[in-house]
């Protein structure tokens, strides 16, 4: 399989989605790196034939279930202990604009 082409625009799009601030003059640099990474992974497809299904988990397991029994939760104090800002036992977050409630 040919390695996919990654453009600076692709990198800018992904950076926006991932909330990573990449300067415009570095977009081409990362595009080249990503292309090498994806190209390397694409080589697997050259080896694996049609009879080899895509894998999403290293263990050949299915149906790993937990019973519906309550376990240990944190206290509110523990849960909030690492929060940068707390109000009224809730996590306080900056203003959310232009997105849905």
């Amino acid at each position: 399989m040919a390695s996919p082409e990654i453009t600076p625009d692709d990198v800018a799009h992904l950076a926006r989605l991932a909330r990573i601030d990449i300067p415009a003059d570095r977009l081409a640099y990362y595009a080249g790196q990503l292309e090498v990474i994806l190209g390397s992974i694409a080589k697997v497809s050259e080896v694996a034939g049609d009879d080899v299904p895509a894998t999403s988990h290293p263990q050949p397991l299915t149906n790993a279930f937990r019973e519906d029994e309550p376990g240990q939760s944190l206290t509110a104090e523990q849960a909030l202990s690492g929060a940068p800002s707390v109000e009224d036992s809730r996590f306080r977050v900056p203003r959310i604009l232009d997105e849905e409630a």
């Binding site: 999403s56 279930f65 519906d68 509110a76």
Partner: protein, 509 residues
Amino acid sequence: MTTMNSPALMPYDDVIAQFDPVMGLEVHVELNTKTKMFCGCATEFGAAPNTQVCPVCLGLPGALPALNRKGVEGAIRIGLALNCEIAQWCRFARKNYFYPDMPKNFQTSQYDEPIAFNGWLDVPVETDEGVQVFRVEIERAHMEEDTGKTSHLGGATGRIQGADYSVVDYNRAGIPLIEIVTKPIVGAGKNAPAVARAYVSMLRDLLRALDVSDVRMDQGSLRCDANVSLRASADSPFGTRTETKNVNSLRSIEKAIRYEMQRQAAVLAGGGQVTQETRHWHEDTNLTTSGRSKEEAEDYRYFPEPDLVPIAPSREWVEQLRATLPEPPAARRARLQEQWGVNDTEMDSIINAGAVDLVVATIAAGADHTAARKWWLGELARTANDQGVDLADLAITPADIVDVERLIAAGTINDKLAREVIAGILAGEGTAEQVVARRGLQIVGDDSALLAAIEQAIAEQPDVAEKIRGGKVAAAGAVVGAVMKATRGQADAAKVRALLLAHLGVEDA
């Protein structure tokens, strides 16, 4: 141009004459499991903020999810009840996005491998031409998790617009959620809003019968998003759709869809184009406003969840779960109608009032079916109608009705006082016993107090007393009435009558 607050609406009849509506409904159901989908945190509604959280549902580094078997069973049972196929093998996927209500920065969901797909639900719809059965086809039902609850503070309205900041409670994050998606609903025409309402109503009854969810729209355990578009005719390609969110009651579903049809029709008739966007329904003003425009296609970068292994429900397991399904609605109706000895019209009114499950639950809790029907269809149906809420959402339970009936049977209260007790329960004054105690509603059962009232009444109406002594027992009513009045209705009329006749030494006729 119209302003955002008061868009032009086309009269509904004109909409139907000129356009053909297409709908798609997405219903989210919170399962009533004891614990969350991927961790052992409790799921109780109304718990103190951030007390039902752990490293898994807070998305802390290194935490690993463990799938709740009961959650998967619930999803499969819902799929089976909706006549779906159940996947032989399927996976969870990560839906990646940043939003404060989702601490992991992804929602564990299902993408192209839903656990249930290709189903249908036959829905009876009230139309001008009588009840018609409309088949709603189900695209899929998939498993996912609920998000945390955000509150927006600092602004004037409590809405996200204009808020200074938000606070988040993650108790709800990770509660099992099943998303049920219909295929495009076509051919409903003028009945489209009624079909949507009937579908969600029937779905709610079905989910309640399955006992997989509390299905409380007011508490958010059942939520509906409505996609609506218009096209010129049934042969035309689908028009551009909008998705209306925040539709939190059955009435609102009907109103919101009707509103969107009228709004879109006015836009199209004016030569404009419908914007593909999310809109928010406002219960207070009965209109929708524009939310986020979907010009930039959502890019969630779904990929298979690496921390969970695939689910491969064996056919034996699926059949075991199928055996636990409640009987189909039509068969159930016929059976209940026979058990209760009611005719078609009476049964229709019970169904239309949304009272079937409540009556069943009340009987199961110990009331007889006549009493159960009497309260839910009388006093309570009127109250629900007055308040504009659904019967099931009233602040009274089948167990409360049974308590009231017990108090009547024990002679503590009579029918008239029972109505006051029910009003007290609805007003949040506590259990039936507590309302009786607090409002002082107990029947005057003390014979000496009653006899005093009887003697007083006889003294006031000596001529009547004389007639009764002379054998005119029918005249007793006037004295009994006076006693009832004196005791402000808190006496048992039959008992007053018996005491009166005994006092006058007359045998009852």
